[in-house]
């Protein structure tokens, strides 16, 4: 059975649509949505999304056909979620994008889409259309290989909804990081508290001017939290009276190069019995 009788419910049938919209027919034929008849009993071609089109086909009046790109985001979303209910789409209803009036057609083009029917050639450009601040981040010195094409936004985020903050596609932020950086997972014999709690305490994932995606240069980042006796509380600035012409000559080994990390190499945690300060 191919679903309801088109004539009885105001449907014109796909052939009628193709008769006028030949430019759309070619791309649509290579689109998974044109295959819907194989797994959706009620499939009626173009009219599955556009609604009954007999009146429109007869008159040519565009107001007599539903155009998902021109109706409200919720209404157009309901068309798509009529079929897309599972998998990564399962959390779309009530998701932050849905409630902020982002519609399916904001990112996807059913007729002319690129991979995954996206409106832009790559995923980054789709997301950067709204998240413009993130685009600048990925051009910074330290970055995940996003602009190199080795990762994409959906490597970490599910834009269709998540139970986790930031639309992270894992149970926790750390859980997402551990998928690739499992060496940081531990649990360690000596753990560094903020590592266990949230990677984002020290790292900014989209891009940073500082080594290893750190939120600040490591010496100041570490001193944000550590000021126990002597060296963590030391002012590592240049004394103009110190002999020399460059910082390497004027600063000790705790303030140059990788500063704190010159020695505290196991900063994410240590499994050494004497690893209290993450030196070993």
């Amino acid at each position: 059975a191919q679903g309801p009788s088109p004539a009885s419910q105001g449907y014109a049938g796909q052939e009628a649509c193709v008769g006028c919209h030949q430019d759309l027919a070619a791309s649509f034929a290579r689109n998974i949505h044109s295959k819907g008849a194989k797994y959706k009993e009620a499939f009626v071609g173009c009219e599955a999304c556009h609604g009954p089109g007999a009146a429109h086909a007869a008159s040519g009046d565009p107001s007599l056909i539903r155009n998902p790109a021109k109706i409200g985001p919720r209404e157009s979303g309901e068309i798509c979620t009529g079929c897309h209910t599972a998998g990564k789409l399962s959390l779309w209803p009530g998701s932050v994008h849905e409630t902020r009036s982002v519609s399916c057609t904001s990112c996807h083009s059913v007729h002319h889409g690129y991979d995954r029917l996206l409106r832009q050639e790559n995923q980054m450009e789709v997301c950067f259309g709204c998240h413009a601040d993130i685009r600048a981040e990925i051009w910074k010195t330290s970055h995940h290989p996003i602009r190199e094409g080795k990762m994409s936004c959906t490597s970490c985020h599910n834009p269709h909804g998540s139970m986790t903050e930031g639309l992270i596609s894992a149970q926790t932020v750390n859980g997402k990081c551990y998928e690739c950086h499992a060496e940081k997972r531990g649990p360690f014999l000596y753990e560094h508290r903020p590592v266990s709690e949230k990677c984002l305490t020290c790292h900014t994932p989209h891009g940073s001017a500082h080594n290893k995606l750190m939120v600040r240069k490591s010496i100041y980042l570490c001193q944000s939290c550590h000021s126990n006796s002597r060296h963590p509380g030391t002012l590592y600035a240049i004394n103009p009276a110190t002999p020399g012409t460059n910082p390497y000559q004027k600063l000790g080994n705790r303030a140059i190069y990788r500063d704190c990390l010159n020695c505290h190499g196991n900063i994410h945690g240590s499994n050494h019995p004497t690893g209290l300060t993450f030196l070993r």
Partner: protein, 712 residues
């Protein structure tokens, strides 16, 4: 079946700096100045099935392969392979004989003069000589990643998914080693990792009900559980372990560090959602997970001179963490003009690792004598309870206003704070008053209050607060406006402001502010020609206060007579970072069906600085004895990237692409000034750092590309 595809073969040539590690940061093509590349894409589509094959080969270490098979309405299978490099340094020199071994040794003839150095200046000279004649070493990782996924319908509403990805990572990366405060030695850490993530899920979609049950398993296997490296300064184990003594006088002959321990993580998850009348939905998610790590513990020290021999209280790490979460949400959209959502979440992170006393070597409270324990690692555990509500109302045609409130309560065991309470309120307004304009405004205020104790004497400075757990007032605002005054022109303006204040943090990070402004303009000149440009300005600032102090010294806040938060040994640093990012681009079908042009350019300029303020005293009274000089360059950099592609379609099936790219990256930072592998002080003494010269170096490269494409 209809089969389409294209095959591209080509080559590229790098003018200069082709060996630069930063230019090749995430690829590996430094073995030649140019090379061949290729790409094959094949799609096959029939009424019932489709298959796809993609292969992209850029170099032996930069490969992507994808395979896809879909049976419409029945199954989907994906397979992928990705090989990529991660490069750190290509031109370093090491005094060690081996680079990938877990035991780095030094040729005795090389070591002898270093260890015999009688003065710090001689030490610097002997180390420099050893480095100059040392072995050349490249530090890089090679990553091979395989992923596969199969999702298929079993029957009726039930479908099953099986997903796995496996990665092998090997090579070396820069790593900090030390034998005490007197020296830091950068080392090539051996990397030989295997990571496997696997997930199995069953989904049921039956009418209004959706259920997803899944199991996740992840293992991490590190072939190298520890790493030994010879001490260039010692020929016999020293009985003096103090960290502050002259470099050649202390420490063992070999250092040994633990490396990332092998571990695994399993979890089970059930997600259920029910669609209700009035466009309502209830969603419940439950997850239980466990992480385990049980590597054999190393000996407390490899130093045979330390007597008595020390023992561990247990042989294995026995580290274990359990996590559990339960979350429920209800959303409803009963009428067109409102959307409501409420939810609550319980999350528990419980570290069940047994607490025990371990030997403590090297430092006691004054860092001057050897002590033998104990160190008692404590493990942070916490329970988080949160609830939230959100209401969105349509207040006018195409205009929504929304309110959101979040409450979170966290209780810690062995955390930095005992308890945290976070209240967050957010208001947002979205409007599309006309067809050519839309705007979004969001305001947010968040307040975190912590039960955070003053530190006891000698642990941290008494009034320090670690910023991630301290009282915090957060203010955030964002404004976006998008205009399309005429159909082909789109202008988007964004501004974001954020400020964090830590009102009870007398020491540590005290506040931070950020501004981000972006302007986007795109113009579709004709059907064949489109232009775009963007500019982003960011400005981040932080202020922190710290203190130089010696336990029981005059700056020690536990010394009643002088324990004052306004002590004269306080100092301040203000970090500031500004960045400008500009991008332009154009795509044009310059000659219909014959020539397509794609040009783009990006410029990024980041400049940061650190400004200090410090009272001036003397060494004797713990105060900073000099007026500090500000750092005018903190991780500054400039990046240019320009590229142009000219695609000549000689026929419907055959095309030639000529490409040109220009890339330049230039870092400016105080760490680059005078960098050698053995830096010396202004008086010629060794300053305690033997490094591998792994700071990324500037590059400037012209890259020419030619490729031929055959489409079918």
């Amino acid at each position: 079946a209809e089969t389409t595809g294209q095959i591209t073969v080509g080559g590229d040539f790098y003018s200069n700096d082709w060996k630069n590690a930063k230019l090749n940061e995430y690829r590996l093509r430094h073995t030649t100045q140019g090379g061949g590349f290729g790409e094959i894409r094949i799609e096959s589509d029939s009424e019932n099935h489709s298959t796809g094959f993609d292969l992209r080969y850029l170099s032996p270490q930069d490969v992507d392969l994808g395979l896809r098979a879909v049976g419409y309405g029945k199954y989907r299978f994906d397979f992928g392979f990705q090989r990529m490099g991660h490069n750190f340094a290509f031109d370093s020199k090491t005094i060690y004989n081996t680079s990938t071994s877990t035991r780095l040794t030094i040729d005795p003839a090389v070591k002898a003069p270093i260890a015999a150095s009688l003065t710090s200046a001689a030490l610097a000279a002997n180390l420099t000589a050893a480095v100059n004649t040392g072995r050349r070493i490249d530090l890089f990782l090679s990553r091979d990643r395989v992923n596969a996924g199969l999702n298929f319908k079993v029957f009726g509403p039930l479908s099953v998914g099986l997903f796995a990805d496996y990665e092998h990572r090997d090579g070396t990366r820069p790593y900090g080693g030390t034998f005490g405060f007197g020296n830091s030695i950068e080392l090539p850490e051996p990397i030989d990792y295997d990571t496997l993530n696997a997930r199995a899920q069953a989904e049921i979609t039956a009418g209004p009900v959706y259920v997803n049950a899944s199991m996740f398993h992840s293992t991490f296997d590190n072939k190298n559980q520890s790493f030994q490296y010879e001490n260039p300064f010692r020929t016999v184990d020293s009985t003096t372990a103090t960290a502050y003594l002259q470099t050649t006088a202390a420490g063992p002959v070999f250092g040994r560090n633990s490396l990332a321990p092998s571990n695994y993580n399993d979890s089970a998850n059930v997600l259920a959602a029910v669609n209700l009348p009035l466009a309502s939905r209830i969603t419940v998610n439950a997850n239980y997970g466990w992480m385990r790590q049980d590597e054999t513990l190393l000996a407390p020290t490899d130093n045979t001179a330390l007597i008595p021999a020390l023992a561990n209280p247990r042989d294995k790490a026995d580290a274990k963490v359990d996590t559990e979460s339960l979350e429920a949400s209800f959303s409803t959209n009963p009428v067109d003009w409102t959307h409501l959502k409420v939810g609550a979440k319980y999350y528990r992170h419980k570290n069940r690792t047994p607490v025990a006393d371990f030997a403590h070597i090297i430092a006691d409270a004054t860092d001057e004598t050897l002590t033998v324990g104990p160190d008692t690692p404590d493990y942070v555990s916490w329970i988080s309870r949160s609830a939230y509500g959100e209401a969105v109302f349509r207040v006018a045609q195409r205009s929504d206003i929304g309110f959101q409130y979040d409450y979170e309560s966290e209780s810690y065991r062995s955390g930095s704070a005992f308890r945290e309470r976070i209240n967050t309120g957010k208001v947002f307004f979205d409007t599309r008053p006309t067809g050519w304009m839309s705007s979004r405004v969001t305001l947010e205020y968040s307040q975190r209050r912590s039960r955070y104790p003053d530190y006891p004497a000698e642990e941290e400075i008494k009034w320090l607060r670690k910023f991630y757990a301290a009282d915090r007032n957060r203010y955030a605002a964002s404004v976006n406006a998008t205009f399309t005054p005429v159909d082909p022109l789109s202008v988007s303006l964004d501004y974001m402001y954020g400020m964090d204040r830590y009102p009870r943090s007398l020491f540590g990070l005290r506040n931070g502010t950020s501004h981000t402004a972006t302007a986007d303009v795109s113009y579709q000149m004709t059907n064949a020609v489109s232009l775009y440009s963007f500019y982003t300005f960011e400005w981040d600032r932080t202020n922190q206060r710290d203190r130089q102090w010696t336990p029981l010294g005059i700056g020690d806040p536990s010394v009643a007579a002088f324990g004052d938060k306004n002590g004269f040994s306080n100092w301040f640093v203000k970090n500031s970072e500004r960045s400008h990012t500009v991008g332009i681009g154009a795509k044009a079908g310059a000659i219909k069906n014959l020539l397509d042009i794609d040009v783009s350019g990006t410029y990024s300029h980041i400049y940061g600085r650190a400004d200090f303020a410090s009272g001036v005293g003397t060494v004797l009274n713990d105060s900073n004895p000099f007026v500090p000089v500000d750092f005018a360059s903190i991780d500054n950099s400039e990046l240019w990237k320009l590229s142009g592609k000219f695609m000549f379609n000689l026929s419907k099936a055959f095309g030639i692409t000529l490409g040109y790219a220009y890339e330049k990256w230039k870092p400016v930072d105080y760490d680059y000034d005078g960098l050698t592998q053995v830096p010396v002080t202004g008086t010629g003494n060794y300053n305690g750092l033997l490094n591998l010269n792994t700071l990324y170096k500037p590059y400037e490269a012209h890259i020419a590309t030619v490729a031929a494409t055959y489409r079918f």
